[in-house]
Symmetry: none
């Protein structure tokens, strides 16, 4: 792919990420094109439909998230890694990213259907950390990985509902995951 095309593609993706993060799927493609400084046709060349663009944004964010999550987990004791990851995902990643939140909540795009590899990588990360935490006795043994994903969606919603106390409230929610 040509250098300028790559640059434009990246720029569109970047702008789209910001736009979707702020306004969700409601933002028009023309607006994204305008903000990226390209014609609408250029957006459609790289992403044939609006849904494709949204998918690409979400996929890119998920991939970054999984990579960061793996790195993060490596530096934490098994007992804490799951909790550290969930806390970080909500507070650092989800804070200003409606697109990521919606995707994790299953809205706008079906991550599992549209990008099964990405979904799998994410679930596999969660599964590893969950198993380790259960082994270490810090996480409840009656939870599976999709439970944790659902709780994560809940934590996002809590953050949305009261951002100024998100840090404290996320701990309240995560507390529910802990073995007593």
């Amino acid at each position: 792919m040509r250098a300028d095309a790559l640059r434009n593609r990246a720029r569109v993706l970047e702008v789209a990420y910001e736009a979707f993060a702020t306004d969700g799927l409601a933002v028009p493609i023309d607006e994204i094109a305008r903000r990226a400084g390209v014609g609408a046709g250029t957006v459609y060349r790289h992403f044939p439909t609006k849904t494709d663009l949204y998918r690409a944004v979400v996929e890119s964010r998920f991939d970054q998230l999984v990579a960061a999550g793996r790195a993060l987990a490596d530096g934490e004791p098994a007992a804490d890694a799951l909790f550290v990851l969930l806390r970080t995902v909500v507070l650092q990643w989800g804070a200003a990213d409606r697109g990521l939140k919606d995707a994790l909540a299953g809205e706008g795009v079906d991550v599992n259907a549209a990008m099964p590899d990405t979904e799998q990588a994410f679930l596999s990360l969660l599964a590893d950390l969950l198993a380790a935490a259960q082994q270490a006795g810090t996480a409840r043994k009656d939870l599976d990985v999709t439970d944790v994903k659902a709780i994560l969606a809940g934590a996002f919603a809590v953050q949305d509902a009261k951002p100024q106390d998100a840090e404290r409230l996320i701990e309240v929610v995560l507390d529910g995951l802990r073995e007593r």
Copy 2:
């Protein structure tokens, strides 16, 4: 107001509730009018904008919810009432009502700004039950009523994310509220 006008208003509200509950704000006004058996103009006579209609639906649901919540609370011991209410709201009220869920999550309409009385009545209900539970030693003492509301939004999201295990997972979330 004439009797037929009143009847129309109630019918529109009822139909709009069902429509928003199922499809969210995406449902067109024409569709609501059609289902209600009235003209679009009639909807607009009673509710000048689509947002007004949505607000009215949410307000009505909140009012019903507060009333039902008061009744429910009266029949429960102080130690349990908060938990019973939250559980019920999520599983009975929110299960099939996207409109209510969105409103509690602060989406689509700002309940506090648009209908402060309703918001106050709801918060006051929560506050009473929270205080009682804290007194009884079942709820954490470091939480206030807006914290509980945020946790409630989280519980809705959890239910959305994994409806088939909602009952179990809501308990996990509510567990976070309990005094240890």
Copy 3:
């Protein structure tokens, strides 16, 4: 249906007939709306898709044509009626109506699939006149009604190709139908 709506519908149909007759399907709906003095939404209210509008125009023309054809045939001797009809259809009806010509040629819309009743009425008219002409010994006996329809499409094309001599050339084509 309300009087103004009926008026608008008729006006749109009229304008669309003229537009399609002149420019074929290429004319934009916005243009038809503009010429009719209505908003684009009004066109779409009456005809949900462009194809629906085109169909309605063609159907209306076919219906008029069949009615006029029946009337015409009644006043002619059986030996001539088929030839008179075909001549009239080409010279009077098809002359400036690309929409009708395309429909008879199977372009733009499949008359048989989209409006079988109309197609049947037309074919039945042709069939009656063909049978009478065969009986009278003026038409070849080895032709059926779809053959005549195909020849009619040919006559339209001849007219398109050399309008200034259409009258004479149509006779040349129709001569092919005659029993020797």
Copy 4:
């Protein structure tokens, strides 16, 4: 012109012929470029507009047709050559070539205006055969060459309208040309 440029031009022309023959003018230039294995810019270097490309395709086909027609005519008796040619053009050349048919019907491009030499060569071929047939007493004397061309357009339309019986029906049309 460089050898590779020549090769590209020929390849584009070939592919465009096939594309137009199948789908008419609706096929996008990008698609033609893709099928030809060149960039869109290359198509535009050789043919400044889509219409120019279409013209070139039609011209090339006409030239081939005239050459083949001359050859064909040489091997037939004067009394039959016109009829043999017309039959062949419709059944062999037009059957799968919408581009050629449209051009002969005056659609998409005005052959006479855009490539007078080609038009003249074609008409001159027709004129020769027509004169010979009139001389031989097989063709009507009241027809001129543009009449024959118009009839040819009609024969194409008949073929389009009922391809399964084209062979038989073309004879019916050509019969109209015969001296009685």
